[in-house]
Subunit: 189 residues, 2 copies
């Protein structure tokens, strides 16, 4: 399995909404890093961008990566080295775009995801057509109560929610990212 | 969206393998409960069975459920009540089967999942045909280094690994469960 165009994912910790709809910076969690890095490696993605402008949070990510890539973690479990090698820390989505552009020479197409129904959202089959193009793709996921409106507005496309007819749609970002990456790139049959 | 037959999931903490291939009882984690319960609710599953014979672990699950179903957790986030209501604690897969049989009057078909390639494994399209039958289905997932051989042998079917051609296939059980449930029951298009 090899993807034709480079596909990256980004997990956004700022700007996202909190429960009350205010824009916040959420905390990075160790488990999100592992789960999404392993997902990225399994689906042969270009990189997994962790987006936070908070320097303490970036330092926390640095400590986790150091443990697994250069410390005891990697001795204990070599598979995690391969996965966590894909992590890139960025201040902003803009910076993640620049990293992709620097690596591929092409501007990525940004697809925002979320649980809310939106007007002109793209279905997965339409989105998969972008895989036949020549521009890299960046799928972005929000933590906390979801991506802030300004992020959605800057995206090239918004994907339809995972289960658009469900009466309950409160998947964890770990589950939603796994499902969307699989729908996008998974082997079928 | 309504599933025709009842579909349940089970997360097995015993018997599973550890890194060295010995059979162990793994520890229940708070996050697995939340992620898989939210997945179960989103996909309209019958129940999410947490399998462990260890009484201290069952008590731990009880404390989590009490916090979210009857305590402050449910006041803070009502959505979690709806999801965690689906959790059932069982000593064994056998007991989970009995719960399903008691609820539906029919013996469930058990499908084991795992990352290893196996001989007569079922592809997802073949597995989806079982949804048109009249027996309830139980998808089982292993924690730690995967379901012990005895569990696989007692299952009616084994599903093919998620990314059978991937050179790296070490998804977290949270990601794997999300992907498999979506392939099985998700809205398409």
């Amino acid at each position: 399995m090899q993807n034709k165009v480079r596909v990256d994912i980004a997990l956004v910790h700022y700007p996202v909404y909190n429960k009350k709809g205010a824009v916040i910076a959420s905390a990075v969690t160790n488990l999100d890093l592992h789960d999404l890095a392993r997902l990225a490696k399994t689906y042969d993605l270009g990189a997994f961008h962790v987006i936070t402008p908070v320097k303490e949070q970036q330092a926390f990510i640095g400590r986790i990566l150091e443990h697994w890539l250069f410390g005891w973690g990697g001795v204990y479990n070599k598979d995690r080295v391969n996965a966590l090698n894909l992590v890139r820390v960025s201040d902003s989505i803009k910076q993640a775009r620049e990293i992709i552009q620097a690596g591929t020479g092409k501007e990525p197409i940004v697809l925002a995801t979320g649980a809310r129904e939106r007007g002109l959202a793209l279905g997965i089959e339409e989105a998969r057509r972008l895989l036949a193009g020549d521009r890299p793709l960046l799928l972005i996921f929000g933590t906390a109560w979801g991506l802030a409106g300004e992020v959605i507005e800057q995206a090239d496309y918004v994907l339809k929610p995972v289960q658009k007819c469900a009466t309950y749609n409160h998947l964890s970002v770990r589950s939603a990212a796994a499902i969307i990456v699989d729908r996008f790139l998974g082997d079928r049959g």
